[in-house]
């Protein structure tokens, strides 16, 4: 009885759950996600159904029945389908060559895939325009006027040209996923089939193919999703060829007078396509789990190709030449030439660099703006990602899964849609954010927060919770535990994640094109504007500067974080 009494009196002093620092940090993060993602999306939805007299579906009706919009939708799907198909063909061949054959020059293939993935796709597009535009493209001019082979010329301003340029950016998705799947199938699975009497072909069809097919399909869908979202190449190559796609059609709706309602409705249709494709991709990937179980220890079966390996080698060299050498050397040559043309090498100069770096304050501002934005956005995205990942993996907070899913939503949002949503939201707010650096920052952080979450998740999963718990039981507060234990341990992963955000932000065009103002102009927008004015050589110089910044970021992050970019963009990072 006395024990009961003591228990009863103690209940009065029962430890109340106190508000601690971590609760404020968690609350702040949730609030940030609401402002970055949830509210803009709600306003996008609202904007698409808001009429003069209450809610209606007029905008959707117009978008679905209008010829222009249907044509854009159709073109986007065609582009996505062809790009997916070619990405599959190229990515799979290269992946198979690297992971299952004795092809020489495997490093070359890996470099090709990594650089293609990191290169700004609109710069590749510009480079190809300078080579293959119907009248002035260097190679076309050469073939027509010098070699006398006009029938060999190639018009880049066509669906074929658009697919070509887009594939150069998207085939790495298939490559990365396929090669990771192919390397993780242990030879013992195939040997087990062979010892039972299955031929090589039979083994490949009945054992290997089913094991790796989900990963390959998932890579193809990712290529599709990324292809249709690229505003830059579709504007640079599609518009002159009169191929209007969803992003360029949405962009056109912002010409005065801006059609916010139509843009919102079209954006939502765009989102539906993207989300459906990503849903399929996830479903395929989920079936892959038994392959990853084999883990890093797997020993894949290699095939000795004999003389055929030189054929494969030739293919990979060709890929390297088209995807890397052609665009990079073109842009470099353009940037150094006085006047781009067949005789460009006669007047090499650094004037173009001088112009954009010293004389022209717009490009100066753009470079400075983009650097500032990319550094802040990458830091914020990774910090928020780390907190969201931590909440998901380390707490039992109700709704933490919802938080995680919310942070992944932007994966399904093309850049231009993010811009439309932010415009809808912030135009309705009393805060004049539209046209400032602020709205660009929100767009970048919101768009790339999934990369931050993923980087943090991957790192946190590798750290046993007991490492944090043992600091806690020794008396460490949440902040001390984070500072002393968690953060130092996940730092390499966070640096890799930081880089994964920095690189796309410094080249971001799809959202920036709708959000910039003369004061908040960014690097990619400046390139695009210069390109529009026809300042060919100066575009080249600015493009090269853009590439150099990306290269420098990779070097710095590698030095600081100890992780390498190839580690960072491993298949899991791309696909998860």
């Amino acid at each position: 009885m006395s024990v009961e009494a003591i228990g009863g009196s103690m209940r009065l002093s029962a430890p109340r759950p106190r508000l601690r620092l971590e609760h404020f940090v968690m609350g702040g993060t949730i609030l940030a996600l609401i402002i970055l993602i949830v509210l803009p999306l709600l306003f996008l939805l609202f904007g698409s159904v808001r009429g003069d007299h209450g809610l209606n579906l007029n905008y959707f009706g117009e978008v679905i029945s209008g010829r222009l919009y249907r044509q854009a939708l159709f073109n986007s799907l065609i582009l996505g389908a062809w790009t997916g198909l070619f990405s599959l063909a190229i990515g799979l061949v290269l992946a198979w060559a690297v992971s299952r054959t004795d092809v020489p020059g495997k490093t070359l293939i890996q470099i090709t895939a990594s650089l293609s993935y990191l290169s700004p796709p609109f710069l590749t597009a510009i480079a190809f325009v300078y080579l293959f535009s119907p009248n002035a493209g260097l190679i076309n001019v050469f073939l027509r006027d010098v070699a006398g082979l006009p029938w060999l010329t190639f018009n880049i301003f066509s669906m074929t040209g658009l697919v070509l340029v887009t594939v150069l950016h998207t085939f790495p998705f298939v490559y990365l996923l396929a090669s990771s799947a192919l390397t993780s199938v242990d030879a013992s699975y195939e040997e087990a089939a062979q010892i039972l009497g299955a031929s090589k072909i039979r083994t490949a069809l009945s054992v290997t193919a089913p094991l790796v097919a989900p990963a390959i399909l998932s890579g193809t869908l990712l290529a599709f999703v990324n292809a249709i979202a690229l505003f830059g190449s579709q504007a640079i190559i599609g518009l002159p060829g009169r191929i209007v796609t969803l992003p360029t059609r949405i962009y056109a709706l912002f010409d005065y007078p801006a059609e916010y309602g139509l843009a919102s409705a079209l954006s939502l249709i765009f989102v539906v396509i993207t989300v459906a494709a990503l849903y399929l991709q996830r479903a395929f990937l989920a079936r892959r789990s038994y392959v990853t179980l084999a883990g890093k220890g797997a020993r894949p079966q290699l095939i000795a190709l004999g003389p055929a390996r030189w054929f494969l080698f030739g293919f990979s060299v060709l890929a390297f030449l088209i995807a890397i050498v052609a665009p990079y050397t073109t842009l470099l040559a353009v940037s150094l030439s006085k006047s781009w043309g067949l005789a460009f090498w006669k007047g090499l100069t650094l004037d173009n660099y001088h112009f954009i770096l010293v004389e022209y304050n717009v490009t100066q501002r753009a470079i400075l703006n983009s650097l500032t934005l990319a550094i802040i956005a990458a830091t914020l995205a990774v910090l928020l990602g780390a907190i969201i990942g931590w909440i998901d993996l380390r707490t039992r907070m109700p709704g933490r899964k919802l938080l995680d899913y919310t942070a992944l939503i932007p994966l399904g949002l093309p850049g231009i849609v993010v811009a439309v949503a932010l415009i809808q939201f912030w135009l309705a707010m009393p805060l004049a954010l539209y046209g400032t650096m602020g709205i660009l920052l929100l767009a970048y952080v919101g768009r790339y927060i999934p990369l931050g979450v993923r980087a943090a998740n991957t790192s946190l999963r590798q750290i046993d919770p007991s490492l944090e718990e043992s600091a806690q039981i020794l008396g460490a507060s949440w902040l001390t535990t984070m500072r002393e234990i968690t953060f130092p341990l996940i730092r390499p992963g966070l640096f890799a994640g930081w880089l994964l955000v920095f690189v796309p932000v410094i080249q971001e065009l799809s959202a920036s094109i709708l959000l910039f103002s003369p004061t908040s102009i960014t690097l990619a927008v400046a390139v695009y504007n210069l390109y529009e004015t026809g300042a060919v050589e100066r575009v080249g110089a600015l493009a090269i500067i853009n590439m150099l910044i990306i290269g420098a970021a990779i070097v710095v992050a590698n030095k600081l974080g100890g992780g390498s970019i190839t580690k960072a963009n491993s298949a899991r990072e791309v696909a998860a």
């Binding site: 003591i6 228990g7 103690m10 430890p15 046993d464 043992s470 020794l474 008396g475 460490a476 341990l489």
Partner: protein
């Protein structure tokens, strides 16, 4: 020093079904300065109990008091960093980015111990676990046993009143495990800290503990000294878990002064204390440990079993003796006592060391 008082503690993880609770209505009084083991198979709730004591988990019901101070109740818990306990984890949880010294000094820094004193205390703690000289090593330069001792030193250096240990020896090889076992026991005696030790290894529990709490299915099955738990198991679960046991069914033939005559098969009967309320004719289960059965050479009429299998294990021999009734007993004998396969033998059971449970 501190005692722990656990009352009606329950915790389930999401499962609606009461029977699937990780811990269910657990009562435990752990006295000051004791080595107490929570013993049970994996998934029995022993680690959950330990994490409830540490404050990582909020209970669904019940309370935990330490020295009369309420630390855990369903409404909220004093967080782990406010409990002043120590904990040693199964995977050591030695921080890989800190040296041995930095690992051990961490808790002292939090307590704002002056540098000079901290240095001395770390040296003492490392000496206590025989790690002197390894201060500047990183964990990846240490063996598993050394890492385990770093974890111990890190917990001990802050002089906790209670040290929680979650299967701390399970990742070590057999020899090292035995040595660390001895060291832990010595350490507990020397420091007087209350040890709460989780393990699934009954031999470890028997060797180390002052008291053993046998937990199964989230419920406390028995709480007692190693001798009590081993030779007077409270139920068949405990009997089964505490080492090898033959659980054979029998029937009560006769009862006299609380002692009953239980018939096992046709030719074997033992006189044994029965649980209260047992009636003549009841079916019961008898728990007989292999070392409490003695085989003898059969001399004509006294045959009661036949040897059906035998295994030589070095320090003992193990036999399977099959009774007429078809029931088989596992028997341990001195290695020099040899029986042949299919040899008829007599079976004698040391009834004083057996237990009866109602079937």
């Amino acid at each position: 020093m501190a005692g722990i008082s656990i009352k009606a503690l329950s915790k389930s993880f999401g499962a609606r079904d009461e029977r699937l609770a990780a811990v269910s209505e657990l009562d435990l009084e752990i006295k000051d300065n004791q080595f107490v083991t929570l013993l049970g198979p994996s998934g029995c709730g022993k680690t959950t109990t330990l994490r409830l004591i540490a404050g990582y988990i909020v209970p669904d019901a019940g309370t935990i008091h330490v020295d009369g101070k309420l630390l855990s109740a369903p409404g909220g818990v004093v967080p782990p960093d406010g409990r002043g306990m120590g904990m040693v984890f199964q995977n050591y949880a030695v921080w890989p980015h800190k040296t041995v010294f930095e690992n051990v000094v961490f808790g002292l820094k939090l307590r704002k111990i002056p540098k000079h004193d901290a240095r001395r205390k770390v040296a003492e703690a490392l000496a206590l676990v025989n790690l002197t000289g390894l201060e500047q090593r990183y964990p990846n330069e240490l063996s598993g046993g050394q890492q385990q001792r770093v974890a111990l030193a890190r917990s001990l250096v802050v002089e906790p009143e209670i040290l929680l240990l979650d299967e701390p020896l399970s990742n070590l090889d057999a020899k090292l495990r035995e040595r660390m076992r001895t060291e832990l026991k010595v350490l507990q005696r020397r420091t007087g800290i209350t040890f709460v030790y989780v393990t699934h290894d009954q031999a470890e529990a028997l060797a180390l503990s002052d008291q053993i709490a046998v937990i199964h299915g989230g419920r406390l099955q028995q709480f007692g000294t190693p001798q009590e738990v081993y030779s007077r198991p409270a139920n068949r679960l405990v009997a089964d878990f505490m080492g090898l046991v033959n659980l054979v069914s029998g029937r009560v033939r006769d009862i006299r002064d609380g002692m009953g005559r239980v018939e096992i098969g046709n030719a074997l009967a033992i006189d044994i204390a029965l649980p209260a309320g047992t009636l003549v004719g009841d079916s019961v289960e008898v728990a007989i440990r292999p070392e409490n059965i003695h085989l003898g050479k059969a001399n004509g009429s006294q045959i009661s079993a036949k040897v059906t299998d035998r295994t030589f294990l070095g320090n003992i021999s193990e036999y399977y003796a099959t009774l007429d009734s078809g029931q088989t007993l596992r028997v341990q004998t001195h290695p020099q006592q040899v029986f042949e396969l299919n040899e008829p033998v007599t079976v004698e059971i040391d009834a004083a060391h057996c237990s009866v449970f109602r079937a």
